[in-house]
């Protein structure tokens, strides 16, 4: 029986659906000190004086920490492979507060009430300074977000704290200006995306204890257990060997938990007091002092010849890092790379970017990681180009999309050839599913409502080439079961399950005979973690390699038992045999525990020189109310090439979930600041994510290619799926209403006002 490409239940499913206590806060010891953070009310201020005596004297308070009590060495909190591209610009607590919500003091106590009281008793004298709140004026602004001398960038990413730059760069191929000048049709527009929030249902949380060796044990809701261990070591100024990180079940991540957001607080409290402690972020904190998407303004110039061949793309991205530079140099790279590479006929391209520091919440990693912003901009510009040429937007894609075996300027700027890719089939099928030819561009429903359709294409990667490491430890147990130990982080996506499916097939054993374990940095093999669309591809390959290696060892032990050379013996999952002689796997397993010198356990690491892109087409049908501007999403069709879907159900739900997040980004999720720099959408009452009545129908199909370098032909899926809704919905709204919205979210107000404006200008769309 083969398990790959089967829709098995997740291994942890029944525990989750019956509400078992498997998450961080369910597991935290009752005696944990409760930690809360005093937060800055100002966007840019210095602590002139901070009085904590009264707070410390409060009954039940164990510890109050301020900037004077923490190490003075800066660190990066981005969960990235060392040396991080992200600048080392943070302290656990700093005298300089850089956004509304920045940490002022850490309070730990026996009860929440005691901590609340102590927080009130801390007296702070602030020196309030003018903040930099507008990303357009941040570069070379006299106000510096990071004026400090010990700010450090470990990598040449164009960062310069004396210019408010977290990254700056330029890439090019060919003479873009000449190519654009030669194009019969060009579009030149700016697209603006917001600092959208991941909103995993479980907010940031962690608890810490000290063990019998005096080591710090950290149980955290994280996507990056190994990076977290290093970051905490850096921050505390202690060797990582003193730290053990355990990841239990976690309630979603979407990139938010690829950054150390809250873990440092219990870490320092427990390290200093020796007592167990925990922190659970409120939703308010998760929305004002966490790690959202980078707000970006992306200026796109794109040109095509009279036949619709896209010849040049120029992308200039201005990205808002906020107060700290985590993930800033890396996210912006994808903004250009993943969008530009979608066009195979380019004669020239330019990609310029600047990531600026400002005094707002620091951005981080969010599913799509910069590609989402770039693809929204470039795909929108190409849709606008198609309209200008009077060409069907589907047709312009057909002429320019990536095609297997044809040229591609890849994610590293090299001219290569597209490997596994069924974008053409994805488009054909998406058109069929949504009824493109019948519905494009729009249908008047005769009741003041118009339905329009729009589409977009997208690609992402599968792991960071030459960087990400997938790890797997596989052992044969005494009872002939296998334990698959993992260092990647299942965050609800089901990677423990799909990696076990792969192992079961490789080992020719039952799925239930594979026990998945993870993550404990003391025990699990090193893995970069679950981000960058890496797990299925990189860790999957590590699992396959571990299986082959372990099989060899099983054969070796079995052959020894049979008294034959290993080369003569074979293994079929149940027995090792040579000719008519055989020993069962169970016998081999017992042998492993008795007088055995051949370890029946292997650990493998995998890293890839390439990052094979998954592809997809998203197509939306919306209904616009011409008077109120109200937008109903009627239907969303997603056709995906993720290579072989290892578990079609889980791949489908990944897609549905990603599309739904993309719909939120397109239509409702907004982040606005008060003039003091305070986020106005600071609760679920104000930051509106889609509910089940907001999303219409989402329909997903797969057009699978076979990726030769991937495990069982698989590529990634997790991030890709958030990339198409913004451009597809934007064009559907345009096709229905004639209104082009270039600043997300596309609200009814923007549409209604656009319609009104067009009416006033006497324009007639169609």
């Amino acid at each position: 029986m083969s398990y790959v490409n089967q829709s098995l239940q997740k291994k942890d499913a029944m525990a989750l659906v019956t509400g078992q206590p498997v998450y961080t806060d369910d597991l935290a010891p009752k005696e944990c000190l409760i930690i809360k953070i005093l937060r800055s009310p100002y966007a840019n201020a210095w602590i002139e004086e901070i009085k904590t005596e009264n707070a410390k004297k409060t009954d039940g308070i164990a510890c109050v920490l301020t900037w004077e009590d923490v190490p003075k060495k800066r660190f990066a909190s981005a969960g990235q492979t060392y040396p991080e591209f992200s600048p080392y610009d943070r302290l656990i607590l700093d005298q300089h507060l850089r956004f509304v919500g920045d940490a002022v003091a850490i309070v730990a106590g026996e009860t929440e009430a005691a901590v609340d009281l102590a927080l009130k008793r801390i007296k702070v004298k602030y020196r309030v300074e003018t903040p930099v709140l507008d990303m357009h004026t941040a570069k070379d602004n006299p106000v510096l977000v990071h004026p400090e001398e010990n700010w450090e960038s470990k990598f040449p990413v164009g960062a310069d704290n004396k210019r408010n730059l977290a990254a700056k760069g330029h890439e090019e191929m060919g003479d873009i200006d000449a190519v654009l000048a030669s194009c019969k049709y060009t579009v030149d527009e700016v697209y603006h995306t917001k600092a959208d929030q991941q909103c995993m249902m479980e907010t940031f949380r962690a608890y810490c204890t000290k063990d019998h060796f005096g080591r710090l044990n950290v149980v955290a809701s994280t996507q990056v257990p190994f990076h977290l261990r290093r970051i905490l070591g850096n921050a505390l100024g202690i060797p990582s060997s003193k730290i053990r990180v355990i990841k239990p079940r976690i309630g979603g991540g979407f990139g938010a938990k690829q950054t150390e957001v809250c873990e440092i607080y219990p870490a320092i409290v427990t390290w200093l007091t020796g007592r167990p402690s925990k922190i659970v972020y409120s939703r308010h904190e998760a929305l004002i002092c966490a790690s959202p998407r980078h707000e970006m303004e992306v200026h796109v110039q794109v040109g095509a010849d009279e036949n619709g061949i896209v010849k040049g793309i120029k992308v200039e991205a201005l990205s808002n890092a906020g107060a700290y530079g985590d993930h800033s140099p890396t996210t912006v790279g994808l903004t250009g790379h993943k969008a530009i590479a979608l066009y195979r006929n380019l004669e020239a391209y330019n990609f310029d970017y600047e990531v600026v520091y400002t005094n707002v919440q620091a951005a981080g990693a969010y599913r799509g990681y910069g590609a989402t912003q770039g693809i929204y901009a470039v795909e929108s510009a190409v849709n606008e180009l198609a309209h200008k040429m009077n060409m069907d937007p589907a047709r312009i894609r057909e002429l320019n999309m990536p095609v297997e075996g044809e040229r591609m300027y890849d994610y590293d700027g090299n001219l290569t050839h597209t490997a596994s890719c069924t974008m053409d089939r994805c488009l054909a099928r998406a058109k069929e599913m949504i009824g493109w030819n019948e519905k494009y561009p729009c249908r008047d429903m005769g009741n003041g409502k118009v339905r329009g359709v729009g589409l977009a294409m997208a690609m992402q990667g599968s792991s960071i080439s030459n960087v990400d490491v997938g790890g797997a430890t596989l052992k044969l147990n005494e009872d002939a079961s296998y334990t698959l130990s993992l260092g990647c982080a299942d965050m609800g996506t089901g990677c423990d399950t799909i990696l076990s499916q792969m192992a079961a097939d490789c080992l020719e054993t039952e799925f239930d005979n594979v026990v998945a374990f993870g993550v404990d940095t003391d025990v699990s093999p090193y893995d970069s973690g679950s981000y960058a669309s890496a797990t299925t591809y990189a860790t999957g390959n590590a699992v396959i390699n571990a299986c082959s290696e372990l099989k060899k060892r099983i054969i070796k032990v079995g052959a020894g038992m049979l008294g034959v050379d290993a080369e003569e013996a074979e293994f079929d999952g149940k027995r090792v045999y040579a000719g008519d002689k055989e020993v069962s796997l169970q016998e081999v397993a017992y042998k492993g525990t008795c007088g055995n010198t051949q370890e029946l356990q292997v650990t493998t690491a995998f890293s890839s020189k390439i990052s094979p892109p998954p592809y997809m087409i998203g197509a939306a049908e919306v209904e616009v109310d011409k008077e109120t501007g109200n937008i109903e999403l009627i239907d969303y069709v997603a056709v995906v090439d993720c290579g072989t879907p290892i578990n079609p159900n889980l791949a489908r739900v990944q897609t549905e979930g990603g599309v739904s997040q993309g719909i939120g980004m397109a239509l409702m999720e907004n982040v606005q600041y008060s003039k003091e720099g305070k986020i106005r959408e600071n609760s679920f009452m104000q930051y509106k994510i889609p509910s089940r009545v907001d999303i219409g129908n989402i329909r997903v199909e797969f057009e699978s290619s076979y990726e030769k370098s991937g495990p069982f032909g698989a590529k990634s899926i997790g991030e890709l799926v958030i990339d198409t809704p913004c451009p597809a919905i934007a064009d559907a709204v345009y096709n229905a209403s004639g209104v082009r919205v270039r600043e997300l979210p596309i609200t009814p107000e923007k549409v209604a006002m656009g319609i009104l404006k067009a009416q006033l200008e006497g324009e007639n769309h169609k």
Binding site: E112, D116, E627, T628, N630, M668, N670, Q672, R680, E681, M685, Q686, K688, P690, S691, V693, D694, T747, P748, E749, A752, M753, L756
Partner: protein
């Protein structure tokens, strides 16, 4: 965090009233709003033991206890029929079923929130509130009264022959409205109430008699009259901007929703 020192489940309204005379006391509604604040309450007064969580329908009126959950209003067949579905329409967008099982009509009305769908709906009906000391007060007067230490006991909706339609525009389906509009048509003429302007609900009456003889008009003329009234509403209803929408957009919505609500209530037939 909300802090409560003492909790008293009142055994009578008299007791509740007495306890509530202290400024630091607080009558508990459904708790959904109260618990979000940072209040320090010395005595929390719970009315849930006083049988005030029911809707009584008589020939003349609906008497709604202050502790009635919004969900019960939504499901009440008598109110549904009387308001031609407007009651349900005004409630079904409010967050979710569990929220509406918690939130009480008393809490919603007492709060006199600008964004309140509930208040907007009741203001369009012939509604009175019954205060423990203050007695029966027209809802419109109650809305204008400063918050005092009295206790809201009942909400009474008189069965004046009426037709109503409730419309709202929201950025997401379960969000607060960007604008809510409830139009009622009775023998006395039209009343249009606007909520979430975003401040307190506003009543618009037909001072220019635009719809005075609307019943007698032809379909064509009716349509024209509705348009005219919608323009009049857009002129008269004050709006302002907040994070959910600008004043300009709200005024546009006033116009559109007014016309649509008028069309929905149609030309006042004798059915009532």
């Amino acid at each position: 965090m909300l802090k409560i020192k003492n909790y008293v489940k009142a055994e009578s309204l008299e007791e509740a009233y007495e306890l509530n005379q202290k400024r630091t006391a607080c009558v508990l509604g459904g708790m959904v709003w109260l618990k979000m604040g940072n209040r320090n309450v010395t005595t929390a007064i719970d009315l849930s033991g006083l049988g005030l969580d029911t809707i009584t329908e008589t020939e003349k009126e609906f008497v709604i206890g202050c502790m009635t959950p919004l969900r019960d209003l939504e499901l009440h067949e008598g109110l549904h029929a009387y308001t031609h579905g407007a009651m349900k329409e005004s409630l079904r967008h409010i967050v979710g079923v569990q929220f509406r099982n918690c939130a009480t009509v008393g809490g919603s009305i007492w709060g006199r929130f600008g964004f309140s769908d509930v208040l907007t709906m009741f203001l369009a009906l012939d509604t009175e509130v019954e205060l423990f000391k203050g007695g029966r007060v027209c809802l419109w007067d109650f809305v204008k009264m400063p918050k005092d230490r009295d206790i809201l006991v009942h909400i009474i909706v008189k069965k004046t022959p009426i037709k109503t339609a409730y419309l709202s525009q929201r950025n997401t389906k379960t969000d607060f409205p960007v604008l809510a509009c409830c139009v009622s048509l009775s023998e006395d003429g039209v009343k249009a109430v606007y909520g979430a302007r975003p401040s307190k609900a506003f009543l618009l009456e037909d001072e220019e008699n635009i719809l005075k003889d609307a019943q007698t008009l032809s379909e064509e003329e009716k349509k024209e009259a509705y348009e005219k009234f919608a323009d009049y509403a857009a002129r008269k209803v004050p709006t302002s901007g907040n994070m959910r929408g600008s004043a300009k957009y709200r005024t546009l919505l006033v116009k559109v929703l007014t016309r649509r609500a008028l069309e929905a209530v149609g030309g006042m037939s004798d059915e009532n």
